[in-house]
């Protein structure tokens, strides 16, 4: 029986090709049942159980064609998890892809990369050449996304594979029901698929030994910002944010203001929240989400209003531009936040932002807009002082903000 440390994908050595063959020899229903028993959830951020996705795709395919896509896109530039994985264990991803293909009966699979992931692409090409003889009739192709944040969103990814602009698509129907070329498609992050060879080798119980009851296994995380040794780490689910920060050498200078968890659309938790566990449910309860599993350490001299404005500035540039709440909403929220940190804020801006956050969350088309509301909700809740200082004292709490706007949004009553 392997020890829990052996379950860290990055330093486990197994013959993944052998596990793929074992998986192929199993009945698909049994394979899906095994994955179900392991409790493997999507590492892409939403945490949807992979087994349910596979089962849905298998049912929808009804023996016809289906596709499997490994999303190794790393949408969040600050969280190069798939690249780290592909550089170290490309065969895990390829064979995981093959196992998922076996589960749904797909004969075409795609490995979807960022256009600038050159070294990861070379590594995976090499591994693919090596694995190809064993893959049989499964065709695995490497596809490059367009770059940018939106290219990693699962429905935008499908559009890219169809040679179209990376635009989100309304769900339901989910890709597992209607995906690539309207056929059932399993889109799963490379990291999720990489766990499959391990599950096949050791069984569900062994996989569940690490992590929590609801989120078994380990997770790659990217620690960035004001951490002593930023980088990609693999931790078990359930590890607290404080422990992860410790592994990254703690915060530079010992103190920090907050932790930005989940990538560009993630919320910012204040420094007292180090006890929050890295776990889908726990993070959601804390007001943010696992997202790209980036944990960015904000140093003590960071104004959170400015930080939130920067995030929305990024989002307003990256939104696919299809749905109104996300395309216009992110820009308008950015404008209001910039107004606040340019000391043009008014007391009524805060309830207004709350209103717009609700709108983003309820009316956006895809996870991009829906989750971006967490930036507003967490920062206004946990860093109310930063907002207050700008609005009431007309001064930055940390003295770091320089005004960027001379004019704020005004209400124009119609003549």
């Amino acid at each position: 029986m392997p020890t829990s440390s052996a379950y860290r994908i990055l330093d486990t050595d197994i013959n993944a090709a052998h596990e793929r063959d074992r998986a192929r020899s199993m009945a698909a229903a049994d394979l899906i049942a095994l994955i179900d028993a392991s409790g493997l959830r999507g590492r892409g951020g939403a945490g949807f159980p992979l087994a349910r996705k596979l089962a849905a795709a298998r049912t929808a395919a009804a023996g016809g064609s289906a596709y499997v896509v490994a999303n190794a896109y790393d949408a969040d530039p600050g969280s190069p998890l798939s690249r780290a994985l592909l550089l170290k264990k490309p065969e895990f991803v390829i064979e995981g892809l093959a196992i998922a293909a076996a589960a749904v009966g797909a004969t075409s699979a795609y490995l979807y990369l960022r256009p600038d992931a050159e070294s990861a692409k070379r590594a995976v090409e090499k591994a693919l050449d090596a694995a190809r003889p064993g893959l049989g009739d499964l065709e695995v192709e490497i596809a490059l996304g367009p770059g940018g944040f939106m290219g990693g969103e699962e429905s935008a990814l499908l559009a890219v594979l169809e040679s179209r602009r990376a635009m989100a698509r309304q769900r339901p129907p989910y890709p597992a029901q209607q995906g690539l070329l309207l056929r059932p498609t399993v889109v799963s992050s490379a990291e999720t698929l990489a766990a499959l060879p391990l599950i096949v080798r050791d069984g569900a119980d062994a996989f569940r030994r690490v992590g929590t009851e609801t989120s078994p296994g380990t997770k790659l995380v990217s620690v960035t910002g004001a951490a002593a040794s930023p980088g990609v780490y693999e931790v078990a689910f359930g590890t607290t944010l404080g422990e992860i920060l410790e592994r990254a050498g703690g915060a530079v200078g010992g103190t920090f203001k907050g932790l930005h968890v989940g990538g560009p659309t993630g919320g910012i938790l204040n420094a007292t929240r180090t006890g929050v566990a890295l776990d889908y449910e726990a993070l959601k309860a804390a007001g943010t989400h696992l997202g790209s599993a980036q944990i960015r350490v904000l140093g003590p001299n960071v104004c959170v209003v400015h930080e939130a404005a920067e995030l929305f500035d990024y989002l307003a540039k990256e939104t696919c531009g299809l749905c109104v709440p996300c395309r216009v909403g992110t820009k308008r929220v950015e404008g209001i936040l910039e107004g606040i940190y340019s000391d043009l804020g008014r007391a009524e801006d805060l309830p207004w932002l709350g209103e717009l956050a609700d709108h983003l969350e309820r009316f956006s088309l895809c996870g991009f807009g829906i989750t971006s509301a967490s930036i507003l909700k967490t920062t206004m809740g946990e860093f109310a002082e930063d907002y207050r200082a700008h609005i009431v004292d007309r001064a930055c709490a940390t003295g770091t903000c320089a005004p960027v706007r001379a004019r704020r949004y005004e209400t124009m009553a119609q003549p």
Partner: protein, 804 residues
Amino acid sequence: MSLIKDYGPSESQIPTVSHHGEIPSGQPVCQITIDGKQVTAVVGESILRAAQRAGFNVPTLCDDEKLAPAAACRMCLVDIDGFERPQPSCHLAVEPGMQVTATSDGLFGMRKQNLEYILSDHNAYCMPPCQVGCPTHIDIPGYLELMTKGQHVEAARLVKEVLPFPYALGLVCPAPCQEVCRRGLVEEEIAIRQCHGYGGELSLEMEVAPTPFPQEVATGKRVAVIGAGPAGLTAAYYTALKGHAVTVFDMMEKQGGMLRYGIPEYRLPKVKLDKELNSVWQLRDAEFKGGMKLGRDFTIDDLFAQGYDAIFLGIGAWTSNELRIPGEDLPGVIEAINYLRQNASGDPVPVGQGNKVVVLGGGFTTFDCARTSRRLGADVTVVYRRGRKEMGAHYTEVDDAEHEGIKLEFFAAPVRIIEKNGRAGGVEFQRMALGEPDASGRRRPVPVEGSEFTIECDTIIPAIGQSPVLDWMETTPGIKKTRRETIVANGALMSDRPGVFAGGDAQMGPVTVIQCVAQGKLAAKAIDRYLAGDDMARIAEEIREEERVPELIDIVPYKPEEPQVRMPFLPFADRVKSFELIEKGYDKAGAEKEAARCLQCVCPDVGRCDLQRLSLEHGLTDNRFHRAEPVDYHDYEYDFSHDFILRDLNKCINCTQCVRICRDVIGANCYGLMGGGYDSIVTTPWNVSLSYTDCVSCGACAETCPTGALMLRERDLQTYELDVVRCIYCGDCVEVCPHGALGETPNFELSTYQRFGVTVLAKEELASARTWKPSEHIPLADESTRELIRPPEIRPPGPPRWNA
């Protein structure tokens, strides 16, 4: 690496059944519940379609039943039991037993937020506010454009469609249009009033005044109009244009009502006024009977007995309101209206050189009295109980009065009139301060204790409002009056007695000239419909709908500044003791220059625009995202280079309907989303002119566009000419036409009808057209027999096959 090179319909998941009419028989149906109502839906169709068929007004901006759903506009989101978040009803197929909430306060608010977002980057004009602000709704951008082109009489004609007296109103109108003019946001408003004044003045020179439309044929109906003021004459004008015979009665000898007897000569010269008002009598069957007073010389019943089919009461408001303070009856206290009338008729007036006059009030009449007295040589003080801003008179009146040497006293209310030698010798006032706003929105003045003061004077003119004279009502059954001493009339301006209409000051209380004209116009419409036997409740509803003030939604694009062209004025020094007209009027160049300043801030899509409609339905009046930095808004160039389709990206809302219709229905695939993030916009590849794309000019994109972003160029196609010498009968034109407008005739490909329905070549002509033999000489188009040229009916042989 190979991406899938297949442009499959990867968005279409939902079968489409038209939302019009009944479900075709044989379709499998299921039951769903929308807002608690059982709805029969076709299995697999979208919730939106089922809801539309069942009569629910689910808003949407990106749905077209020909197209796959996009779920882009986020307007049609509905709450569905079992779903955590609202779902786009255009994109989700019905399932049996689905419980849908399509209308709720929460959804309404969220949809409204969507619209606010869309409009916050809708860098375009909607309705011109001047046209909305004007009670008569003159097409102001329209006539200003005509004036810019030098077509002044045409401009006057356009104004006369709703306002028969552009010259008079050009001088005396308080110009509510100018207060809301969008040019004011750039630097200064357009001198709208003076501009139509110029056009009106120019048409006074014509022997017969221009009419907006030709007078209709006589209907044989007779209408009596009582009161020859602005309301009455307007009603008479439009009633006569409709073909009815009109008789206008007035108690005064001459026409004009308050325009003549209330407004002094220096604001409106009576000679020219007469000239303009005479345009009414130039119409067939329109006559004026002066010196006839209602109640004294005739009654309403008399008129009906004389065979009039309808009566319009525009009797004005001719009594001045009382001050209700002690000393009001003393000699030296003059009635304002009477005083102005005496002055206008040339009768002796009780004010002259050396008099000390106090005028009480802050409206137009106040200043007419004050400035008249000043011109008669008196020393004048105007006293008003509120401040300068609260005055009812136009600010130019107030400023001019001050410059003419009239003293202004604010925040003072008269307490009593002091007696001196049996005459009025002064007024005691009490200081006022502004309190809470009253019903009219103006802050109510409240007295300040112990602040009494006195102004010595010998003449006092209270001008604090007027009321209609309604003593004739006692002998007239069926017509009622309100508590404010005005005539009761419904939405169609009809009083409680059928066939008797009322408007103007007599119905609304004292208002501005332009409001009276507007009522005259509406009354004429109502009378015309009444005489045609229409249901008056429906007419009232129609008028209410037409007069509803639409909200205007826009942000103002950048314009280079250019100040107003100044109207020449009579110098202040020349105004003492002179009743000469103050406003000298524009000359041609001035008028044209001023008219050219108009921003033409009107969208041709107004009324057809879904965005406007939904915004009105959602009560979106204010937008909270205005006036920030330029980076917050887009300012795109127009693309008017295409022959048929006009593109204005500023009005694009990224609904992607044109993208989908051009790609999936037409197949040309001219549009797509370009740019990234907030700068995403639907346009052609690399934003080139539409002419350089594969556009087939079918117009489907403009047809489906929910806003004015894509519009068909207005054009009147004549016939296509076929150059028979150059045509190679390839048939490409027939093939390419997506609407099948170029038909294939039995013998050859040739257009029979072009797309706007005008016959290119009538079918009969085709049948009898000459057949050209290959060897025959085909006359060229420019030869004298041009009309006779018909294309041959038989496809000519191809080039000779040399090897055959």
